[in-house]
Amino acid sequence: MNDMSDGYITADGRQIGGVLMELKNITLKFGGVTAISDISFDIRQGEIRAIIGPNGAGKSSMLNVISGFYIPTEGEVWFKGYKRGPMRPYQVAQLGIARTFQNIALFDGMSVLDNIMTGRLTLMKSGLLSQAMWWGSASKEEDEHREKVEKIIDFLEIQPIRKTPVGRLPYGLKKRVELARALAAEPKILLLDEPMAGMNVEEKEDMCRFILDVNDEFGTTIVLIEHDMGVVMDLSDRVVVMDYGRKIGDGPPDEVRNNQDVIDAYLGVAHD
């Protein structure tokens, strides 16, 4: 039985809730290659959880397991106290798990607005016939969701590019639009796969601020993969460290930073 009541207080004084998702003994094999071996950790309500590790450590695979893109060879995923059966990715999305991609996966032919509206698909209910007529529920629903989407556009400060086709945008903005699309689903858990890859310092600072604001304002639980150690240590409440598909560390940033295994495997040099 999962305990949903306990929690902890973070260094900056935020109350973190009970366990939202628990991964138990996850193993993922592709033929003879073991991408992830026997990893367990939990994700708590409202926290920012980072997954770090050297290239090829299995971080993205881990995210793909959480988002339902890969079915683990062994092990169980528990979400909100229930064991999650084998599901297609779109069913996982309907549970309230949204993600962004390492290589931006936006819909290039569509406008920014349409991309973000697509993020709300799982929340929109009107049927084919009512949409064909564009009467009553369909057009009303469209307006309601447009209003929510405009709030997100406002929040991420992308108002001027609302109607621009995504294919024309620069990299940094695309990353932001992708975050907007994931946020539009009002997810319980938001998975961010290297949200700051390839950005300059200023863009990184913007992105950090957005991530913290999302967590603060919507109370969204965030799981992120990132290579910038400064960012990870500043943002996250707890960190999982992976190497060669194994978990070699788990805990608050300070604890991980001083863990000898982690230093050897990843950070390379001892700090101070």
């Binding site: 988002s67 339902g68 893109f69 297609r88 990715p89 779109y90 996982v92 999305a93 309907q94 949204a98 993600r99 991609f101 996966a105 936006l106 819909f107 290039d108 032919g109 569509m110 349409d114 509206m117 697509t118 993020g119 698909l121 799982t122 929109m124 009107s126 084919l128 949409q131 064909a132 007529m133 564009w134 369909a138 057009s139 469209e142 307006d143 447009r146 209003e147 405009e150 699309r181 689903a185």
Partner: protein
Amino acid sequence: MFYREAGDFKTSYREDSQTFPIKFDRLRYYAVLAVAFGVIPLFINDYWANAVFVPFLIYSIAAIGLNILVGFAGQVSLGTGGFMAVGAYAVYKLMTAFPEVSVFFHVLIAGGITAGVGVLFGLPSLRIKGFYLAVATLAAQFFLVWLFNKVPWFYNYSASGQINAPDRTIFGVFVTGAQTSATAKYMFCLVMLTIVAVIARNLTRGTVGRKWMAIRDMDIAAEIIGVNPLTTKITAFAVSSFFIGIAGALFFAVYLGAAEVGEAFGIQKSFLILFMVIIGGLGSIFGSFAGAAFLVLLPVLLKNVLVGTLGWPTDLAAHIELMIVGGLIVVFLIAEPHGLAQLWRLAKEKLRLWPFPH
């Protein structure tokens, strides 16, 4: 000069998301509708109806249908001719079996039957993509033509193997058969096209359309966002085939009057409509109209110029005409791969600033 969006402020999301957000566009749209419904029927004669308007209207319906599948949902299909044949034979069977029901409903039901067949042949799209899917739909094309040739039940055991549209009326006016006036043919097809275009526009701007485009642009990301690929692709095939079925039904019942399946709905028809969609512009409703107009009107125009004005022999003109149309297609695809719709968009963007571009 006349094309301005300055001062055209939107105060609600509904206003902002309407089909023609710019006032000038909206007025022009109403003007086109008014001319199409109010002016052309008064002046139309048999030549204009049969050579220009009726084929244009019917091919527009088919092009919209195919554009939904190829342009919006990204699923390539070469089975359009076969699906049109399904519409034609369905409407024929319905017209002869239930003569008391209005032909208007026959056409709609024929569309529905085609939708069912389209879904059946769309099922492989879940596993195969791109060129491979094109080959699978090509199989549909040949199978359906073969089926309508081989099974006499479909053509009511007629000796010639042809199907002939019986005389049918709507509100007492003949719309099929030999006694049909040019105006009636034109109006029937125009009403159908208007319905189809409005439905297509509504679907493509809403959730369904976004799902289609998401699958087209990046199917893996779409699935992770919550798009069910099965239902989305199947809906695209169903809606697309519904429209194509209507087009096939009209093509047979209103335009041809009598049809032989291999001749009327062969593979050339599939390619013709695919060309319309590509030349017009993938993923654009306007592009479907533009492509249909281009490929229907251009041959007529060339024929009039070559035979009528220059006085060339008809057979020579016919061959030259094919070469010119083919050449123009190539030129167009090189100059503007996104089709006439893109040219139109560019022209509009230029006109926004003209004559003071800086």
